[in-house]
């Protein structure tokens, strides 16, 4: 770590940080400001720079009441949908990838290398590339408009598998030997030794994958038709591109802020784990 003894350096680092934060926070601040005004205020120059008085009204409208005439449905259901989808994706990714990494690192089986490279190859096939066949499969399995359909195609993850593989490779081989001599079978070893030692990685990966799932746009757009299964990201888009009317920027921004809050909460909650894991490092 660099030691910043020089007072100028100290000031400079802080200036850099503050500028950076302002730069990143400004759009969010404007989104928040926009969500607290009426549409009329937003459309008349100058654009308001300070929060208005419509905060409660706007949020109440998008969350509970809705505004049927303007095409605004309450988004509580969509928040829930997004949450369930993101949860499924994050948990599913972790379960699948930790098990496949475990297999690749700790077992010698025929075509092990091939399996590894096949997982690697999926990096080159994100949803956007395979969207048509994936849709076909989801449709023929009757998975459209279901949570399974929303999350399952996004669960396989080469990145997470690599991450766990790297993490397992840092565990000393003797740990596995010791467990074998102690009489633990492979799954016991996984459950009692590998899993507890990967807690930190699981926590960090969960945060990343939850946000990844939450931000999904293209696949939910394709895989859902009913508004009941719509996600929060989709509802924003629908409102912004609704035909024959001025976009309801105040409501859209309120939804955007709501859509931000859940991942933020997840980060905040998991961060405590995260820091605990770093401080209480066991490796």
């Amino acid at each position: 770590m660099l030691v910043d003894k020089h007072p100028f350096l100290r000031v400079a680092t802080h200036v850099c940080l503050v500028v950076g934060i302002l730069f990143l926070m400004l759009p969010i601040y404007f989104a928040f400001v926009a969500s607290t005004h009426s549409l009329r205020d937003l459309l008349t120059a100058p654009i308001p720079f300070l929060p208005g008085k419509m905060l409660f009204h706007n949020y109440y409208t998008v969350l509970v009441k809705g505004a049927p005439k303007l095409g605004v449905n309450p988004v509580d259901r969509m928040l829930l949908n997004s949450f369930i989808m993101a949860m499924f994706i994050a948990v599913g990714k972790i379960v699948v990838s930790i098990l496949s990494a475990f297999a690749i690192v700790y077992f010698r089986f025929p075509f092990r290398k091939l399996c590894f490279w096949m997982i690697f190859a999926t990096l080159m096939l994100p949803v956007q590339v395979r969207i048509v066949p994936t849709f076909q499969i989801a449709a023929s399995l009757d998975l459209l408009n279901t949570y399974t359909g929303l999350s399952l195609p996004l669960i396989a993850s080469a990145t997470a598998t690599f991450l766990f593989r790297q993490c397992f490779l840092t565990l000393p081989d003797e740990l596995c030997d010791a467990a074998r001599i102690d009489g633990a079978g492979p799954m016991r070893f996984f459950w009692n030794v590998v899993l507890p030692l990967s807690k930190i990685n699981i926590a960090s990966l969960f945060v990343i994958m939850f946000i990844y799932g939450w931000n999904q746009y293209l696949w939910p757009l394709v895989a859902t038709t009913s508004s009941k299964m719509s996600t929060i990201v989709l509802s924003m888009q629908k409102l912004a591109t609704a035909a024959d009317q001025i976009p309801q920027w105040n409501y859209i921004m309120a939804i955007a802020i709501l859509a931000l809050l859940v991942p933020l909460l997840v980060v905040l909650v998991m961060q405590r784990w995260f820091v605990k894991g770093l401080v209480d490092s066991e490796k």
Binding site: G183, N192, E282
Partner: protein, 362 residues
């Protein structure tokens, strides 16, 4: 009673054979130390005995029962690893208890065993701590405790002391020795440290390149090394080797044109007029006294004064062969000095120049 027997054990990785047919038989209660340079296959041997590594051919029997195909947990063994291999997320108690839990032992019995082992190993106050809060020596003791509570028939130690600092190593060496004697559990100990090997072993096994070079008590091996490799590996500083020529019906060897060593017997007659290797331990050389029959001069290149000993490195004045001499600590010497040395013929070793095997004789 034979406890463990290895018969013609071989190990191949793909196409390279790393262990070339090892035979070994170990009696109950013995402390066997396998010593050798790194890469000689000693750790692989231990892992094969543990069942962590498959054997390519041969048989391993424990108490007459073939265990080739048995998994480690069914062999009734316990192992102590070089890096301790403690479970980082478990406290000392759980680390020791894990193997017993896996064997479905009752909680109360586990507690009894751990309490007992913790007392012996002075770990009682540390039972709630995690490995990261322990010193190296304490971790080593936990690893020992984990092996002890299992009450196995066979202890396997894989260079258990090489991660400790020198002083702690000596302490732990003594502790392991005492503990093994008290428990009377048959043990196999792998190390590359010859001091550990010499001090701990009932039976010492010297390995090199996947072969057993020699097996015997530490003193047998020191006094009668079977091969040139064993002679160079055991003993510090390393034994001096000189190429010499046999003449006079095998009664005399010629170090060079100037120096000849006469012997009473003619045991070297089959080597008449051939080159052999003469081995002289540095501690077998001494400063010549007036009436010593054999005398030769060495010019000192380097001196290591250790207090208890003075080790002088140099070259023979006639013939230029390198020599190391271990002299008593009160003898002072300096670079460039010419020492007149002597030796007793009974302290010499002879090796065949091509096979490296000891020549039976003296």
């Amino acid at each position: 009673m034979t406890m463990l027997e290895l018969k013609d054990i071989k190990k191949r990785y793909a196409n390279t054979e790393v262990i070339h047919g090892v035979n070994l038989s170990i009696e109950k209660g013995q402390f066997v130390v396998i010593v050798g340079p790194s890469g000689c296959g000693k750790s692989t041997m231990l892992r094969m005995i543990a069942g962590l590594e498959d054997i390519s051919s041969g048989n391993i029997t424990i108490h007459g029962k073939l265990v080739n195909r048995l998994p480690p947990k069914s062999r009734n063994i316990a192992m102590v690893f070089q890096n301790y291999a403690l479970y980082p997320h478990m406290n000392v108690y759980d680390n020791m208890a894990y193997g017993l839990k896996m064997r479905k032992m009752k909680k109360a019995d586990i507690k009894v065993r751990i309490t007992k082992a913790a007392e012996v190993l002075k770990l009682t106050d540390l039972l709630k701590r995690r490995p990261k809060d322990l010193s190296g020596g304490q971790r080593q003791r936990v690893a020992m405790g984990r092996a002890m509570v299992r009450e196995p028939e066979l202890f396997l130690f894989d260079e258990p002391l090489s991660n400790l600092d020198a002083r702690l190593r000596v302490d732990m060496r003594l502790e392991i020795y005492k503990l093994q004697r008290e428990l009377g559990i048959t043990s196999i100990y792998v190390t590359h440290d010859q001091v550990e090997a010499m001090t701990l072993a009932d039976v010492l096994v010297v390995m090199n390149h996947g072969h057993v070079e020699q097996m015997g008590t530490p003193l047998e091996i020191y006094n009668k090394p079977a091969t040139q490799f064993v002679a160079s590996f055991i003993g510090s500083p390393e034994m001096n080797f000189l190429d010499v020529k046999v003449c006079g019906d095998g009664r005399t060897i010629k170090l060079n044109d100037q120096i000849t060593l006469p012997f009473a017997g003619s045991f070297l007659d089959q080597y008449e007029r051939r080159q052999i290797v003469l081995g002289i331990r540095p501690e077998a050389l001494h400063i010549a006294e007036k009436n010593d029959a054999i005398q030769f001069a060495m010019r000192v290149d380097l001196v290591e004064a250790l207090g208890s000993d003075t080790i002088a490195y140099g070259r023979m004045v006639h013939g230029d062969a390198r020599l190391v001499v271990k002299l008593s600590g009160h003898i002072r010497t300096h670079v460039g000095e010419v020492l007149t040395l002597s030796l007793r013929p009974s302290n010499l070793h002879f090796f065949d120049k091509t096979s490296g095997k000891r020549i039976i004789g003296l």
